[in-house]
Symmetry: C2
Subunit: 146 residues, 2 copies
């Protein structure tokens, strides 16, 4: 079996946040939305059906935790999340990954989904540090053993 390696597309569009039991949790480098991408560490997986039942249960737990972390990120910058958007798409980057995005009725894309819309906006260092600091404690209980 091939060894898991993160697709290069994730390296250029997101920042490492935490290694959870199943997934690499990465912060999408787009200041328009609090947004976490979960990538299961399973080589070759492109669809949810490609991972085991046990992995899917763990993935669901990590999606719920990522949602809470995204809510914490929004709260930390004074823009509380009003709706979570969760998507496993992968039409462009086929490696299995799940987006967890915090949405508000006043955000740039509302009510459309965010994928493939508009241009991403870079975080300034201070805001990036603030959202990272807000997200991390929420994910801690699901982190992989070091």
């Amino acid at each position: 079996m091939d060894k898991f390696a993160l697709a290069s597309a994730f390296l250029s569009t997101s920042e490492p946040l935490a290694s959870l039991k199943l997934c690499e949790a990465r912060l999408q480098a787009d200041a328009r939305f609090p947004w976490i991408v979960l990538i299961p560490r399973r080589a070759g997986a492109r669809e949810l059906e490609h991972i085991s039942n046990g992995d899917r249960a763990q993935l669901m737990d990590e999606i719920i935790a990522a949602g809470a972390a995204v809510r914490a990120m929004g709260a930390a910058i004074g823009r509380p999340v009003e709706k979570l958007n969760v998507g496993a798409i992968g039409n462009i980057t086929p490696q299995l990954h799940i987006h967890v995005v915090g949405r508000r009725a006043d955000d740039e894309c509302w009510p459309d989904p965010v994928w493939g819309r508009g241009k991403s906006v870079a975080y300034d260092d201070k805001t990036l540090a603030a959202v990272m600091a807000a997200a991390l404690p929420v994910l801690r209980s699901l982190q992989a053993a070091a």
Copy 2:
């Protein structure tokens, strides 16, 4: 606790397909894509975090089955699915629901997600009957007791 009722938006955009253990499975009335919508029968749920752990495990099973059903729909009309797209969005219709959409590189929206893009195309009766007949057996094992 309120009684579950399907949001009216689903009635006008989709056809009833099957009552699964957790969800109402409905066929999206859009001939551009083989597409099933799963709506958990849980009153008031708007986010994945609003349903129990047990319900989320069942939902994951029903998402996998809906993916297989969507693949069967595509195969039945000579357009095999190349990628599944799964999304829980709900920015417009807040009642918790999960889209399972079969995509191909030659479809109208590829590689963009389908939500909020283009205009839906009505099925003709014969094609609708064919995709329904293809989807139903795949969902049978997860159907609620009558």
